[in-house]
Amino acid sequence: MQPLPASFRDNDGFVFSKEGKIFRYVHPRYEAHYQHLQRSGLLQELWDNHLLIPHTEQEAISEFGFREGRIWQPEKIPFISYPYEWSFGMWKDAALLTLNIAQRALKKGMVLKDASPFNVQFRNGQAVFIDTLSFENYAEGNPWIAYRQFCECFLAPLLLMRYGHPDAGRIFTIYPNGIPLGILKNILPPRARWNLNNYLHIYLQASLSSSSIKTAGKQARLSRGKLVVLLDGLVGYVKGMSVKQEKTTWDDYYRSTILGETYLQAKTQLVRSFTEGLSFDSVIDLGANNGHFSLLFPGKRVVALDADPNCIEALYQQIKQSKSDILPLVIDLAAPSPAIGWNNRERDSISDRLRADLVMALALIHHLAIGLNLPLSMIAEWLLPMGPYLLIEFVPKEDEKVQGLLRNREDIFDGYDLADFRKVFAERYSLLREEPIGNTGRILFLFKRN
């Protein structure tokens, strides 16, 4: 069995896929820890509270080609997202989940040996920990082995969003193993130093670790009580973080536009009627804004993408309450998440992950064609592998929004009109439905891939 490309760091096991299913191999050297995880009741406690991904044990390990160890089949996460695609609240909840699990583990005599945000995924608006091999038996006196990782992988991005901009979490893309504290302290504004927690966890730690040679060889001891204080302190620190609302372009898109309420109602009605008879389980909403259209599909799995971190944050807070099966992600289609990590194969690009039965591109095409100068054929080619059904809104050049995009530039877009649009899409899709949206001049199309 070949481990999946993202599964090489842990000696105690690896993740592999067989016949489209995901399994985790657990090496016998992890057995003592797993025994404790089970017997202490920690595993059941984490499962009961939906904090850890459940798995079932596969008895017939020889069928998988193994002679020893265990094989688990974890519950499948429908859509894998990466931390640099999360909004502030998602980062914060992932950090609090990690601390919550570390606290519960310590009470049962275990420690969390990893504090990587890649070990957290989202489903039904809830963060869930996915790495069951992260638990180790606790030895009294040991400091938290994952503390530094927690600071660089959770605190650092949170502080960049808190003091910089809600969109700054995307910086994690270039430092997926943690933003070095020495870099972080130079990026943060000077006033950040005057907060005790920032000072201790970031500034002091950065200066101490740069002079670590002096302290080398001395193994620090930390009593259990002190470790509890450290974890409690981190929880309070993270809970107290918030972002100031930076005003962004899309904040009031539907409210402030003169297209307004009637347009939204007409479009909502059309989207409902177009998708009524369709058979589909999953939806991608490209340019989801506040998620108005993502929310029209209860019972379906929806991935809602937008470049605006405020829109995605608002949507996340909404579905966190309602526990809907919507995954909101901050994605800038002009600079989508690349494939990163070792050999560029550890984390897939967003383009490789975007697959669903129904793809929605509502009020998007003019941003790609006019805003990004993309020819219609390139847009169609990009949409094609995403899914068999395509619900797309055509926005004509005369439209107020397109005129806004053209205001300060030369109109070089001769190829952007309805006839061209029809031609380009007819080469790749069959037309199922077509309907004008009120009297706006915009048209909604439903296509099926050929």
Partner: protein, 57 residues
């Protein structure tokens, strides 16, 4: 010797910082408890309850 030190896990600094932070936060907790006691002396309320109320805020 120098060369060996260069390969030391930078985590060694992060162990020491945990001891420092736990000590600093520990002092904070100590004074907070102290404060609850003073407060409860004047308000004649149960210090444990006071603490819970504060935590819930």
């Amino acid at each position: 010797m120098r060369f060996i030190l260069l390969y030391l896990d930078p985590g060694s600094g992060s162990y020491l910082i945990q001891v420092i932070i736990a000590a600093v936060l520990g002092v904070g907790f100590f004074f907070r408890n102290f404060w609850y006691r003073i407060k409860s002396f004047f308000t004649r309320r149960d210090p444990e309850k006071e603490k819970e109320n504060d935590a819930a805020e």
